[in-house]
Symmetry: C2
Subunit: 305 residues, 2 copies
Amino acid sequence: MDEVKVLSPATVSNVVCGFDCLGFALEGPRDEMTVRKIDEPLVRIINRDDYGLPDDPAKNVAGVALRALIGTAQIDFGFEVEITKHIKPGSGIGSSSASSCGAVVAANRLLNDRFSKIELVDFAMEGEKLASGAKHADNVAPCIFGGFTLVRSVEPLDIVTLDFPPLFATVIHPQIEIKTSEARAILPQMVPLKDAVRNWSNLGSFVAALAKGDHELLSRSMDDMIVEPARKSLIPKFDEVKAASLAAGALGGGISGSGPSIFMLSKTHDAAEMVETAMHDLYSKTGIEFNIYLSKICPEGVRFI
Amino acid sequence: MDEVKVLSPATVSNVVCGFDCLGFALEGPRDEMTVRKIDEPLVRIINRDDYGLPDDPAKNVAGVALRALIGTAQIDFGFEVEITKHIKPGSGIGSSSASSCGAVVAANRLLNDRFSKIELVDFAMEGEKLASGAKHADNVAPCIFGGFTLVRSVEPLDIVTLDFPPLFATVIHPQIEIKTSEARAILPQMVPLKDAVRNWSNLGSFVAALAKGDHELLSRSMDDMIVEPARKSLIPKFDEVKAASLAAGALGGGISGSGPSIFMLSKTHDAAEMVETAMHDLYSKTGIEFNIYLSKICPEGVRFI
C-alpha cells in the first residue's frame, strides 16, 4: 500500500465547563487528505483548496506533524500530502487539528499502524504548537479518538475517552477573525476559588451525565463561570445566540475553541434543526456572514476511505 | 410505628480534586440513633455517649435538622432522639453530618417517607450550618444517598450519584484538633487558572474512572494542586503518610473533610490492610494518639435496623 485517503473531522474544544481539556468530534465537516509514500526522505505538501495555506512543510501544520512522526519512526522515505480543506482555517472548530491528525493517521497506516493513537496525538500536537504557539491536545484528542475526550494531562500525555449518549451539535461560524493571542490575553490569570469549584463541580457532573445518558443533568452542568464571561465579548450576539438556542430546545453550549464559532448541543436531530433555524434567523440580521453546521457527535475520529 | 432505629455512617468529603463537591460514604463507623414520636410538638435530645454534645435542640445538629423537617412538615407532634455516637466529633469524617442525617432519615420514616432524599439533604444541611457556619452538602449527600456523590450545586440543590467499582478506604484520625475556621482561613481566595484547569481535568477524569471502573485512571486522577498544598501543613506527617500509603499499594488519597483525618483509597481489602499497617507504623512513632478505620465504600447511606 503506497497511498491512503482519509477524512479528518472538525472538532469542538473548550466545551463549556471543560476549558482546556474537554472536546468532541463532529461527523462533519471533514477535510479530505491523501498521503503517499515517496522515495525522498522529506514531506511534500500539496494544497488543493483556496485557503492559501503554506506549501512549505516547516510552516504547514500537517508538515510539522509528519516530520515529528518521521523523526520518531526513523524511516528512509517520505510522504506527499494532498489536502482539500473543508474546515475553514480560524473557524474555531479545529481546522489545524484536522490537518495534523489526518496526516499522521494516514501516514501511520502506511507504516502498518506502528504507532498507537496516543503517540499520534503527540505528533499532531506539533501542528498545534505551530498554529497556536502551544502544545495542546484539546482538538487533536477528539480528532484522533472520536467522540468526547478529556485531556487529563499534557505532560505526560493522558487522554480519557468518555462514554456518551446520542447527541447533536449545531455550530455557527461567524466569518470574523479572533486572534488566538487576543482570546488568550483576555483570560484571567487568577480566578476566585469559589468560581473554580463551581466549574469543577459542573465538569464532574457533565462527565457523569454523559456516562448515565442523563440529558437533563447534561443541560444543568453546561455552565461556565470563568472563560465564557471573559471571552464572549469577542463574539457578536453571543448572548442572544445562546438564549435563542436554549429557547429553541438546545441543552446548552458555548464558545467553540477560542471562537468565533458558537456550538450548541441537542438531544435530537430535530432539536438541533430548530436551533439551526434560531441561529440563522438571529444572525441574518447582523450583516455578518456566517456558516452553520449541524452534525451528530461522531464516535469516530479520522476515517479511512 | 412510633420508633425507628438507624445506623448513620461516617463520610469522607473534599475527595482530593473534588474539593467542596465530591464525597463518599463508609460502611463504618456508624452512629446509632433511635427516633421516637412524642406528643409534645418539640425535639428532645438524649446523648448516650461521653462526647458532651449539647442536649439543647437549638444547639445540637440533629436538633436543628429535625426542627427544619418539622417546620416544613407542619405536624402537631414532636420527636425524641437518642444518640450513641461512634464517630468522634471533629474527626473530619462527617460526625455532625451523621447525626443530622440519621435524625431526619429516621423521622421521615415515622412520617411514612413523606420527603425525598434531596429534601432530607436540605434539612440535614441546617445541622451543617450550625456545626460549621455554612450550609454545605459535601458530607450529608453521601450520608443520605450512600456511595460517591457529587454536589453540583447547593442553591438550587443538585446532587449527582456516581457509579463506582468496589473500593476500600483506610482512614487515619490523628487525635488533634483543627479548627474549621483555621482550615478555611488557610485556603487561597484566588487560584491560578492553570491550576484550576488541572484540578477540573482531574475531577472529570476521576468521575470517568469511577464510571469505567478504571482503577489506574482513578489513581492518576487523584491529584490536587489547590487545597491539599494549602492545608497539609495542619496535619502532622501528612506527606509521609501519603507516601507510605502509596508505597503500600494505595491508589491515592488526601485530606478527609478539612482534616485532621487522612484517607486513602485501595482496590482491594488486602491492599487497604497494607495501607493500615503502613499508617500505623508511621504514626506510632509520632507520640500522637490516633485511630484507623478500614471500610469499603458503602453504596448505602443511613441504614434502618
